[in-house]
């Protein structure tokens, strides 16, 4: 078990298995808002579902309309349980806030492996494994 601490971008408690990308994610064109599946064929997570996972990636990129992709996922019950970033940028921040998805940033994301169980607690605390 490992405890990491970061900055709260949007508060909330959550628990789920980590889905980790070493590459940035563009929400618009990167994740299908209808299915929650990563559709960008060049992305390392291509074909995987973000639903219910703790989505871990360095930072967001791409169009600001991408914020609405998170909102749509949440409305359809397909959203990730939480998001962990190395550095959060406005597209992800805005999307998470309007969708009420917990987001922590300022994390060394190499400490989290795909498939680890991750618990988001209050005050930006993250418990990995165990």
């Amino acid at each position: 078990m490992q405890v990491l601490r970061g900055r709260v971008i949007h508060p909330g408690k959550a628990c789920g298995q980590a889905l980790v990308s070493s590459e940035p994610i563009s929400l618009l064109g990167g994740i299908d808002a209808e299915t929650g599946i990563v559709i960008d064929p060049r992305h390392p997570l291509s074909g995987q579902s973000v639903t219910g996972r703790v989505l871990v990636f360095p930072t967001g990129k791409g169009s600001t309309v991408g914020s609405y992709v998170l909102y749509q996922l949440k409305r359809k019950g397909l959203a990730p349980a939480a998001i962990i970033n190395a550095r959060c940028e406005p597209i992800v921040a805005v999307g998470a806030i309007i969708s009420d998805i917990p987001v922590i940033d300022g994390i060394d994301i190499t400490q989290i492996r795909c498939g680890d169980w991750v618990r988001i607690e209050e005050g930006g605390q993250i418990v990995v494994g165990g």
């Binding site: 900055r7 971008i9 949007h10 808002a33 600001t64 309309v65 914020s67 609405y68 992709v69 909102y71 749509q72 409305r75 959060c88 940028e89 406005p90 597209i91 921040a93 805005v94 806030i97 309007i98 940033d105």
Partner: protein, 420 residues
């Protein structure tokens, strides 16, 4: 939330004492301020909200707007919209599918409930929203942001749709980025050695500058003129408006530039001795040819011609009317403008020669956000470097880029006769 200082009023908003809608908006603005290390929130005089076309918003975006309207959120400062996915009145004439039009109208209804003025344009500064030097704004549209910062000397970051709307509801935005003196210093000093003449030359220049500056703040020194440009009393009301509009639109499309200083034009270039940042990169532009080459495909025919990106001014509509008088277009010519500009053109009798020639004048909209798929167009001619940057990806079109006269000629003949 870090170092961010909130006033008593800000805290009331955040605590939900001004209603749930206001609380949601405050939460968003405060989070962004915190991410960017803003020290406080700054009052803004106007807002321009992107995220209007149903093509980009989708059902999720529409639901979001409706949910904020439902929560009682209302804007507190004058707010306008970016172009929608269709002419809100004449969409049927322009072949917009009814199903799309209904959803687009629902988006507009949601914005109305939020208190936003239904003026859908990328040139709010031409239709009554004219910020003054030093005013803080929360604008979204990249070309309007670059125009407001660079030509008018106002201060705005390039806001995303929801963050601009949140700022409008709060009447404030987070003070970071281009709101601060420090971030407005020039990071790139670019000597422009080649002469500039037509608006397309300014667009071509903007394209090159955007590529060089990325998300920096360029300072342009126009060594070969035009001399008349420097020290204009009001550049936005001068005959140089189309030129400056083209330049600022292109620089924000090929790069992520929100502020491009032009020596003698941008108010700060006359006022700030410390304008250039200590580590600024020095560059030169000797020729516009690379831009004209990059923005032009090889096709010698066109099947669609676009004028009015950013939205055509009254002067530009007058010029189009002059060029089209007594002629007949062979291929589709779409001229996009703001509703208020269109109405003014109508009063001046400028629409008749344009419409008689078979061209379309569309208000409230833009090709880049219209539902263009399946319309069968392949080659677009445009006098806008910004449109030439966006049309391939957003509309699946190859482009020819050249002066207004060449574009009108292409509309009349269906052939592209050359760029220079």
């Amino acid at each position: 939330m870090g170092e961010l200082q909130l006033s008593c009023t800000d805290q009331q908003f955040l605590a939900g004492e001004r209603g749930e809608g206001a609380r949601l908006a405050a939460q968003l603005v405060v989070a962004l301020g915190s991410i960017y290390g803003a020290r406080d929130l700054v009052p803004i005089s106007s807002v321009q909200v992107a995220g209007v076309s149903y093509r980009n918003l989708g059902e999720a975006g529409l639901e979001f707007l409706q949910s904020w309207a439902e929560a009682g959120a209302r804007v507190r400062v004058p707010s306008m919209l970016n172009p929608a996915g269709m002419d809100l009145l004449a969409w049927q004439e322009h072949g917009i599918p009814e199903a799309f039009a209904r959803r687009q109208q629902a988006v507009i209804e949601a914005y109305k409930r939020l208190g936003v003025t239904v003026s859908c344009t990328c040139t709010p500064y031409l239709v009554g929203m004219r910020p003054r030097h030093g005013e803080h704004l929360a604008w979204s549209e990249s070309s309007a942001v670059a125009f407001a910062n660079s030509i008018l000397g106002a201060r705005t970051n390039r806001e995303g749709g929801p963050s601009a709307l949140a700022a409008a509801i709060l009447g404030k935005t987070a003070r970071y980025g281009l709101h601060l003196d420090e971030a407005r210093r020039a990071t790139h000093v670019i000597d422009v050695a080649c002469p500039l003449d037509r608006p397309t030359d300014f667009g071509a220049l903007g394209y090159l500058v955007g590529r060089m500056a990325g998300d920096g703040v360029p300072l342009l020194r126009l060594r070969a003129g035009p001399a008349a440009l420097a020290r204009l009393e009001d550049p936005a009301a001068s005959r140089w408006l189309p030129h400056l509009k083209s330049l600022t639109a292109a620089v924000a499309a090929s790069g992520a530039v929100g502020l491009c200083h032009i020596e003698g034009v941008t108010p700060e270039t006359r006022e700030r001795p410390d304008l250039i940042a200590p580590q600024a990169t020095r560059l030169a532009i000797e020729s516009l040819r690379p831009a004209y080459e990059a923005l032009n495909g090889a096709e010698d025919y066109v099947d669609l011609v676009s004028v009015g990106c950013p939205h055509a001014s009254l002067g530009e509509l007058a010029q189009v009317a002059r060029l089209l008088r007594g002629r007949r277009t062979r291929v589709e010519l779409w001229i996009t403008t703001a509703r208020a500009t269109l109405q003014e053109a109508q009063r001046h009798g400028l629409l008749e020669p344009i419409l008689s020639a078979g061209a379309r004048v569309m208000a409230d909209t833009c090709l880049v956000v219209m539902p263009m798929a399946g319309r069968g167009f392949r080659v677009l001619a445009t006098d806008s470097a910004k449109m030439a940057v966006y049309a391939p990806a957003h509309c699946g079109l190859t482009t020819r880029f050249g002066p207004l006269e060449a574009c009108i000629e292409a509309a009349v003949t269906g052939r592209w006769q050359g760029t220079a």
